[in-house]
């Protein structure tokens, strides 16, 4: 009886705001309703390639998965570098052999004294000049190899070309814009040591990206494919950045 005399409390139905995909305006998957709209899954969750790779912190590695202590100029604060590749170290073999041959050439002066008509001081400076030229050749080749890198982040691919001391080109494309990825391994050494090219067609300003002579090209292509699929999933599930 007493209960019936109590004033009835008004009840309000709380309508939860349904989060919507900003691109398609479809409701976001219930699983991701409580996550911020720009949340990202850990990469190991969707990438088989990176799940199997251990983090690499060697700055001279030519295939560095989940590299630490590496960043690039236009990197977003929440953009994570997943893979860094540069040409396989075997491509350096040619200039290393050339360097060794050139470095040994002054020893030939003992047997073939072509500089004998020079006074001693000119002979000394000629040999020093020769080794300076070799040093310059080594430096240019090493820097061209070291700074010519391809970076795959969870948002973009970046191609840093440093073809010579006077030529530098940096291009990037969003994973969204990638249309096709293919890899190829060619030649005796390529097949033996497993290095080759990864060709990436994009809808971005630069239509084609080419990761040249990189180690494990099919693994790189597979990772980019996994990232493309994840981008698609992000769009469908509404986890759009």
């Amino acid at each position: 009886m007493a209960d019936s005399t109590k004033p009835k409390l008004k009840t309000h139905t709380v309508h939860k705001v349904v989060k919507r995909n900003p691109l398609t305006d479809d409701p976001v998957d219930p699983k991701y309703q409580d996550l911020p709209i720009d949340s990202k899954k850990p990469v190991e969750e969707y990438s088989e390639v990176l799940r199997r790779e251990v983090a690499c912190d060697n700055p001279y590695a030519s295939f560095a998965a989940k590299p630490s202590n590496i960043s690039f100029e236009s990197q977003d604060p929440d953009e994570r570098i997943l893979l860094l590749v540069r040409q396989h170290p075997i491509v350096n073999l040619r200039w290393i052999i050339v360097t060794l041959v050139l470095a040994l050439m002054p020893l030939g002066l003992v047997f073939v004294p072509v500089l004998d008509f020079f006074p001693a001081r000119f002979q000394t400076m000629s040999v020093i000049g020769w080794y300076l030229l070799i040093l310059g050749y080594v430096i240019e080749n090493f820097l061209s190899w070291f700074f010519r890198v391809n970076i795959v982040t969870d948002e973009r691919i970046i191609d840093i070309d440093f073809l010579s001391l006077l030529y530098k080109k940096i291009s990037a494309a969003k994973i969204d814009n990638i249309e096709d990825v293919s890899s190829n391994v060619a030649g005796f050494f390529g097949s033996l040591i497993n290095y080759g090219d990864v060709e990436i067609q994009t809808a971005a300003e630069q239509r084609e990206f080419n990761f040249e002579l990189v180690p494990q090209p099919e693994k790189v292509a597979r990772l980019i494919n996994e990232l493309m699929l994840e981008e698609e999933r992000e769009k469908i599930e509404g986890r759009v950045r």
Binding site: G129, L135, K168
Partner: protein, 87 residues
């Protein structure tokens, strides 16, 4: 030294020079200095590029590369100075 003389003679005949036997070696010194100066310019470009590239692409190796580029430049300047003094 005989060969020095014959080259000087050849040069003098070639350019119809009357005297100054040391002219050939003076020209050689200038050529050497120009070559070493060009190398100094090259090492300046190396330093500039290493600093620019390490800004574009930062790695743990950047400190070592910068030091190497600067030491290389100092070495190139040292060789140029040595050539200037020795030759």
């Amino acid at each position: 030294m005989n060969s020095d003389g014959s080259i000087n003679d050849f040069l003098m005949q070639l350019f119809n020079l009357q005297s100054d036997v040391n002219l050939f070696w003076a020209v050689m010194k200038i050529l050497f200095l120009v070559a070493f100066f060009l190398y100094v310019l090259f090492s300046i470009v190396v330093v500039r590029q290493v600093f620019m590239m390490t800004q574009t692409f930062k790695t743990r190796a950047e400190g070592g590369l910068k030091i190497f580029a600067i030491v290389h430049l100092i070495f190139a300047v040292g060789v140029f100075m040595a050539a200037f003094l020795i030759l």
